[in-house]
């Protein structure tokens, strides 16, 4: 019994998650297999590609675009994308005059069903506070320079509303198919920290 190796004092995070999982399994509340399935689903199946398909469809089908802006949850659900934390999806449209960008100031609310899991920078305290205070500066640091006459609108995601951005369709993509367009759309563009560029 040496005090130096007292394990409960500052247990590693690995030990804490392992302990919790084993207790939950014993209580019959989770199974390791069910957790594996959830992880696989979020890592492999749900990802920015879902959102990219939504954007490409909106670019090529104006009725869908209007529906998407009117009721994001329903329009996204129409393509089969729904799940936890995607219940209230609000889509905001970028135009030559308006640039939208999404943040969650309190935690890291994110439209998982369409964009997958949030990237590290989205969860970063600096991103969360600076995007509200100085969006132009931060966007510029992230590689997106906007003209002074562009109206920058910052949307704070919450439990009620998960925002995602409908980016502008880049010029020179008129002949591209919906599938080809979807490949151009990045997660960053749908959060609003980048634009979609033509190939």
């Amino acid at each position: 019994m040496t005090e130096k190796t007292e394990p409960a004092d500052m247990p590693s995070i690995e030990l804490r998650t392992e302990a919790l999982e084993s207790l939950l399994v014993e209580a019959g509340l989770v199974t390791p297999e069910a957790l594996d399935g959830l992880i696989n689903r979020y890592v492999a199946d749900v990802g920015p590609m879902n959102g990219a398909k939504v954007v490409a469809k909106a670019w090529t089908d104006d009725a869908y675009r209007r529906q998407l802006l009117d009721d994001g949850t329903a329009a996204v659900g129409e393509l089969g994308f729904a799940g936890p934390q995607g219940e209230h999806i609000v889509v905001v449209e970028n135009t030559p005059e308006i640039h939208n960008v999404v943040v969650c100031t309190l935690c890291s609310c994110y439209p998982w069903p369409v964009l997958g899991l949030p990237p590290d920078w989205y969860k970063d305290p600096a991103y969360r506070s600076r995007m509200v205070r100085e969006p132009r500066t931060l966007l510029s640091e992230m590689g997106l320079d906007l003209d002074d006459d562009v109206d920058v609108r910052v949307w704070d995601s919450s439990a009620e509303n998960r925002y995602f951005v409908l980016p502008e369709r880049p010029e020179g993509t008129e002949s591209m198919s919906e599938e080809e367009l979807a490949e151009l759309v990045t997660r960053d563009a749908m959060v609003g920290v980048a634009k979609v560029t033509a190939p």
Binding site: P7, A8, P11, I13, E14, L15, R16, T17, E18, A19, L20, E21, S22, L23, L24, V25, A27, L29, V30, P32, A34, L35, D36, L38, I39, N40, Y42, V43, A44, G47, P48, P84, Q85, L106, C107, S108, C109, G116, L117, P119, D120, K123, D124, P125, A159, T186, R187, D188
Partner: protein
């Protein structure tokens, strides 16, 4: 780590997940913690809104404290929120966590997998 708990399959998960070139989970424990919260919410043990409230509290506590050079780690706050909500719901008591951590930590090195 017991293999049955952390055996994450051969592809998709243990192969580092990437979206737009970025790791989705930096370590297996992050994905376990993430999935536990989701699974319990799906079963109705708590709602995701309730969990979010605990997450906001955990993140707020971190932001209010002085951490020196220690970097912010989102999933640590996630795990803290998960433990807090399970304690509040009297599903998994803090003492049960402490005891189990103690037991797991007693495993001799080299025999902990």
């Amino acid at each position: 780590m017991s293999l049955d708990v952390l055996s994450l399959g051969t592809d998709g998960v243990t192969a580092p997940p990437r979206t737009n070139g970025e790791l989705t989970f930096a370590a297996p424990w992050e994905s376990r913690s993430f999935a536990m919260a989701l699974a319990l919410a799906q079963q109705g043990l708590f709602t995701l809104d309730e969990f979010r409230d605990h997450l906001i509290e955990a993140i707020g506590r971190w932001e209010d404290a002085d951490h020196g050079d220690e970097p912010y780690h989102y999933y640590r706050q996630w795990q803290e929120a998960l433990e807090a909500i399970l304690a509040a719901k009297q599903t998994i008591a803090e003492s049960a966590m402490r005891d189990r951590i103690g037991v797991l930590a007693q495993r001799p090195h080299g025999h902990d997998h």
